[in-house]
């Protein structure tokens, strides 16, 4: 699609110009303006005030909590993604299609519904509520609940990158390694991992963006205790509802910067390692 000398499949100039104009206007108004608004609102009363709002105790604890949640959920979901991809992509078994659908299930379930499901099990009036109270274990309105809710919404991210990639790569190299006497782990670390590392990074990157930014599921289980169970997005909501707009948008700016960093790194991976990440991203 580089040099287009074939005129028959080409659109008239007028149509091209109209399409480009509508596309540019649509993307700028719908996507770019909200992004700029975040930074503009944060800096509306100067950089100093915005920074001072980030340095408050509640903002700091929300940042810390968000980092802790991501630090727990990322390794777990990465391990899960690798296991799922190894089983699905390198082996044949019945029910594979069903298993793949089940892994993707969180994408079509509302995050609020996910949070609700955990409250029904672990909440005060939930199934395990009385038992948990007896043993003095707090899950809902505490860190474990927030981690569980985050795990739910980010389950598919790593697996869905690795499965198509590892199916593409086949199992010849691994079979060769095993026939030469390599063990399972050795085969994985020496043969498979080098082949999938950029795809894995791609999946982890998207998983991290969602884990740090999740709001719907976390808001249900967090209990909104400021300086304790508010993650960054939940704290943004709390400040916004208090008409603390500078504080809300200042904290939101940090999340927007994370989003921009994610997009930049994602574009770089797609461009630089196009052949080594899943087939669907090659364009």
């Amino acid at each position: 699609m580089t040099t287009r000398t074939r005129r028959a499949a080409e659109d008239p100039v007028a149509m091209r110009l109209i399409c480009i104009a509508i596309t540019a206007a649509f993307i700028i108004v719908l996507l770019l303006l909200p992004l700029i608004t975040v930074f503009a609102q944060a800096l509306a009363k100067g950089l100093g005030l915005a920074l001072s709002r980030i340095e408050t105790h509640d903002a700091w604890t929300s940042i810390r909590l968000t980092l802790i949640v991501a630090a727990i959920s990322l390794p777990l979901n990465t391990l899960f993604g690798i296991c799922a991809a190894w089983a699905i992509a390198k082996h044949t078994f019945r029910g594979k299609v069903l298993l793949t659908s089940l892994i993707d299930l969180p994408f079509s379930v509302s995050p609020v519904v996910a949070g609700l499901a955990y409250v029904l099990i672990f909440g005060m009036q939930g199934w395990l509520g009385p038992a948990l109270r007896l043993w003095n274990i707090k899950i809902i309105f505490a860190l474990p609940g927030i981690v569980l809710a985050t795990l739910f919404v980010t389950v598919p991210f790593v697996a869905r990158e690795l499965v198509p990639l590892m199916i593409d790569q086949g199992r010849d190299e691994e079979e060769a390694a095993v026939s030469l006497g390599a063990g399972g782990l050795q085969t994985f670390f020496r043969v498979t991992l080098p082949n999938i590392k950029w795809g894995l990074l791609y999946g982890v990157l998207l998983c991290n963006a969602r884990a740090m930014g999740e709001f719907g599921a976390v808001t249900v289980v967090s209990g909104h205790i400021r300086g304790l169970t508010n993650t960054m997005p939940v704290q943004v909501e709390a400040l916004y509802n208090d008409y603390e707009f500078v504080g809300a948008f200042a904290l939101a700016s940090l999340l927007a910067l994370l989003a921009l960093f994610t997009l930049a790194l994602k574009s770089l991976l797609e461009w630089r390692y196009a052949g080594e990440i899943a087939a669907t991203h090659r364009h």
Partner: protein
């Protein structure tokens, strides 16, 4: 599981180790994180009997919230279908300055936390906002109306449509289009009879994904919606409100309906995928 035996008969003995372990870990993890909690949700509303469940669902406030969520998600998905097709077409077929930047921006709704998108859209479309002020002057109110919900849902759904059809568009050979043109078809005829039918399954898949996401969307909507009961209160918000009132059966009843809708959407997607794969 009798699963492996059947597989073994079909091909040579499995040379790669770790199948049982990795499949076991996968199933165990899925059960703990997603399947058991969702099963618990499916059982909960029947504790008051089927009648209690129906009573909750047919209350005017719940009905209005469900209608609003599904209705505005459907409209937003249709808007995204039209504009997503146009955007994907332009970004893959034409070369122009800043194309790569515009293309990278498409993924912004995936990367930007929904709460951030929500307060940004709300500030943008508020009476004194950059877009809200001029729109107000021509008599259009977006923020704190159902129209605001639509804007948020279009924002959140666009990448699903664009990213699903882009690879198909990029892989599509120009030969069929050229043949049609050689045989005397106008460009419009070629687009309608050759390009659109080829894209149709992917376009349907992308639109369904956008719809699924929009139905359950919470963060980007609640700030701009106004959240007036029976007017601009979406179903996920009503679940949160019921939970805050410790009305578990009330929350669970709405949750079950939304979960069943999710399963139906997933089934439709699987059928679409099968059609895509057959092509």
């Amino acid at each position: 599981m009798p699963v492996t035996r059947q597989a073994d008969r079909r091909r040579k003995p499995d040379a790669l180790p770790g199948f049982r372990l990795t499949l076991g870990v996968t199933l165990f993890y899925l059960c703990i994180i997603t399947l058991i909690p969702l099963a618990a949700l499916l059982i909960q509303p029947w504790s008051n009997g089927f009648h209690g469940f129906i009573t909750i669902l047919t209350s005017p406030r719940v009905l209005a919230a469900l209608k609003l969520s599904f209705g505005s998600a459907a409209i937003a998905a249709l808007v995204n279908m039209v504009f997503g097709l146009l955007v994907a077409w332009t970004l893959t077929r034409y070369r122009f300055p800043f194309r790569r930047v515009l293309d990278a921006l498409i993924d912004l709704p995936f990367a930007l936390p929904t709460a951030v998108a929500g307060i940004a859209l709300s500030a943008l479309y508020a009476q004194n906002g950059w877009l809200g002020a001029p729109l107000e002057r021509i008599g259009i109110k977006v923020a704190y109306t159902p129209l605001g919900i639509l804007v948020a849902l279009v924002f959140i759904g666009l990448p699903f449509v664009v990213r699903t059809i882009e690879p198909i568009l990029a892989d599509m050979s120009l030969e069929a289009e050229e043949a049609a043109a050689t045989l005397g078809a106008t460009r419009l005829q070629t687009l309608a009879r050759i390009v659109l039918p080829t894209l149709a399954p992917a376009l349907m898949t992308g639109t369904t994904l956008a719809f699924a996401r929009a139905v359950g969307e919470y963060g980007s909507v609640i700030f701009i919606a106004g959240n007036l009961p029976r007017v601009s209160e979406i179903a996920p918000l009503l679940i949160v409100i019921r939970l805050e009132e410790f009305d578990y059966p009330g929350a669970a009843a709405i949750g079950v309906i939304m979960l069943i809708a999710s399963f139906a959407i997933l089934l439709a997607l699987n059928l679409l995928q099968r059609r895509l794969a057959r092509r």
